[in-house]
């Protein structure tokens, strides 16, 4: 009845039963915070506090505290924004695109990856607010009637598209994540011993009871949400790339940007997922759920998207030369050999060369190496955005306007703020919510477990399987 290919290793190891899954995942939610968690949380709060002071000063004093000048008008702010949005993309890829492709391995990591998406988009949005300079005017980006100055927003502008794209992306991701959380919140609610947690988890579980009808609707809307999120996530980074591509700045004005940005986004996002998951699985002892197989699969995605990014870099270069537009030609060759050559080569080394090392099976199954490369990839992707933004701007059309950008402590402090925010949110999530989707893991447990199917239910009895009613085979999806 349930045919499991013998070639594949089981997704969930350790011969887990359904009760084991509940127990393993709920343990850290129900336990009091560990010392490690408290230390990590304390450090994040310190980082966040430092960043907040820098941010407060940025807003109090104005954007003059940044290292921007009239030539380089966008630098770390937009670099960080694009970087964070890109990181968010992996979560949606795992939860939506892999759901459509019926990739069962996503079930162990989708919860945490989606949480990462939401927090990364919050960080990205904070840079949009920051670079406005006057964040209390942020509502001007919304299509509000003309009580605020008789003009509507310009719907032809990619910056306005971005407002819609990011806010839709954030809210739809949040809803998708929350829908997935409800059954697990109900599990925690039903195990809760204290009144407070019973009330809190019970409130957010919305009275979930897991009836067959509810589950059928749940699966149906999950599929539609996945179907909606898939083009949505592609549209978000497409629109982010159009912020650049629709301008006439040499180096930005290229049609390759949308696919190239999307590939880069998934590339950096998976690297961040690796970083977070490699720590989470050890801290919460989830090695049976997030196995080497998962890590290897994600490394394959990193290699694939890294190669797409590499091809995009080379294509961009070829077109800059072959296109015969001298400004374009100069912009690209200046990146490679001009004053920002180090940023360019940092990007090339980190993004093009490093993921190719994963062709070695030994390396892509090495946890230490994976962690190291994931950090490298994220550094590389940050440099990619820096290269695109700053090196395209720093050589203006008139040589007298040529300038360099150097970050001040507030540029750096505001970037640190986003790290503090991200890790604070992620640590809160990983303590108070189940980091693995229990319901989905239980659903794939049988078809992917190494154990005898009869043992999964926790009772070693011989069941009547394969006897009658072939019409109700649960593998018919």
């Amino acid at each position: 009845m349930h045919v499991t290919s013998p070639v594949r290793e089981p997704l969930i190891q350790g011969g887990k039963t359904y009760a084991d899954v509940t127990e393993d995942i709920c343990r850290h939610v129900e336990a009091t915070p560990t010392k490690e968690w408290k230390i990590a949380f304390g450090l994040s709060l310190i980082v966040l506090a430092y960043g907040s002071v820098c941010l407060a000063w940025t807003w109090w004093e104005g954007l003059g505290v940044w290292g921007l000048n009239k030539t380089v008008g966008w630098a770390w702010d937009i670099t960080n924004f694009v970087w964070w949005v890109g990181i968010g993309h992996a979560g949606t890829l795992i939860s939506a695109i892999l759901l459509l492709f019926r990739q069962k391995w996503r079930t162990s990591i989708n919860r945490a990856a989606e949480a990462m998406t939401i927090f990364a988009v919050i960080c990205a949005a904070s840079f949009i607010l920051m670079h406005m300079g006057r964040p209390w005017m942020a509502y001007w980006a919304l299509p509000l009637p003309n009580a605020f100055g008789s003009l509507w927003v310009n719907f032809n502008s990619p910056l306005v598209w971005d407002v819609f794209a990011i806010s839709t992306y954030f809210s739809v991701s949040l809803v998708f994540w929350y829908i997935g959380l409800i059954p697990d919140l109900a599990t925690i609610r039903d195990r809760a011993t204290s009144k407070v947690s019973r009330f809190m988890y019970g409130t957010f579980a919305m009275g979930w009871d897991g009836s067959a009808k509810t589950w059928a609707r749940y699966e149906y809307i999950s599929l539609i949400l996945a179907g909606l999120s898939t083009p949505l996530v592609l549209s978000v980074h497409t629109i982010v790339s159009m912020d650049f591509a629709t301008s006439v700045i040499p180096g930005w004005h290229t049609t390759i940007f949308p696919p190239y940005f999307v590939a880069g986004a998934i590339f950096s996002g998976f690297a961040m997922v690796q970083n977070l998951m490699l720590i989470t699985r050890v801290v919460y002892k989830l090695e049976d759920y997030i196995t080497l197989e998962h890590i290897e699969t994600m490394n394959k995605v990193i290699t694939l998207t890294g190669s797409v990014v590499g091809v995009a870099y080379i294509t961009e270069f070829f077109i800059a030369w072959y296109g015969g537009v001298e400004y374009e030609y100069y912009a690209f060759f200046n990146r490679m050999t001009g004053p920002y050559w180090w940023a360019y080569w940092a990007m090339m080394t980190c993004n093009v060369i490093s993921p190719q090392l994963f062709w070695s099976r030994k390396l892509r199954r090495s946890i230490t190496f994976t962690f190291f490369i994931s950090v490298i990839v994220n550094i590389g992707m940050w440099f990619e955005r820096f290269v695109i933004i700053v090196t395209s701007l720093h050589r203006d059309y008139i040589p007298s306007s040529w300038a360099m950008f150097s970050p001040t402590r507030y540029d750096i402090g505001d970037y640190i703020f986003s790290f503090g925010l991200f890790f604070t949110l992620f640590l809160l999530f990983s303590k108070y919510l189940p980091v693995v989707n229990m319901a989905e893991v239980k659903a794939v447990l049988r078809s992917t477990s190494a154990q005898m199917p009869a043992k999964i239910a926790g009772v070693a009895k011989v069941r009547q399987r394969g006897t009658a009613e072939p019409a109700y085979n649960k593998d018919q999806e």
Binding site: S171, A186, M206, A212, W215, A439, T467
Partner: protein, 176 residues
Amino acid sequence: MAELSGKYLVGVYDDDDTVLHAVPKLRKAGVKIKEVYSPFPIHGLDEALGHPRTRIGIAAFMFGVTGCCVALTLMIWTMGYDWPMIIGGKDPISIPNYIPITFELTVLFTAFGMVTTFFISNGLGPGTHFHPRFDVRSTDNKFVMAIDMSRNSMTEDEISRALKDSGAEEVNIKQF
């Protein structure tokens, strides 16, 4: 969700396959099953129980169409009529430029509309109830079948025996 009343027989199963096979057997034997509660989705269970296919997709489509119309109306009216402006030498109403926002609002309306419909149709909401009504283990590792006695003509013993025969490890009585 409607409040429950009366007497229920609750069959507790320890395996998703067993409960999936039990449902058609019991229905054939004439037992009217109210619902089965499980910790994770079991494919084919809703059809086995005879639940009609969900129509939430129709609602989702309607919300999507609404979102699309709202977006286009907003942009065409503001850009073309309320304050027409020529931007980049293009027609004030230039539909290709409106595609991204139309798409985003379509997705936004579909997602939120569909999820709201999901909550309402399942009777889910904050504070509706703080436990599964029939067996607390149904969100952990047990598969729980509820049978409304007032809707069944068979006796308690008959149903109880049928449940046991179909693989239930426990049969409990729940009175509301």
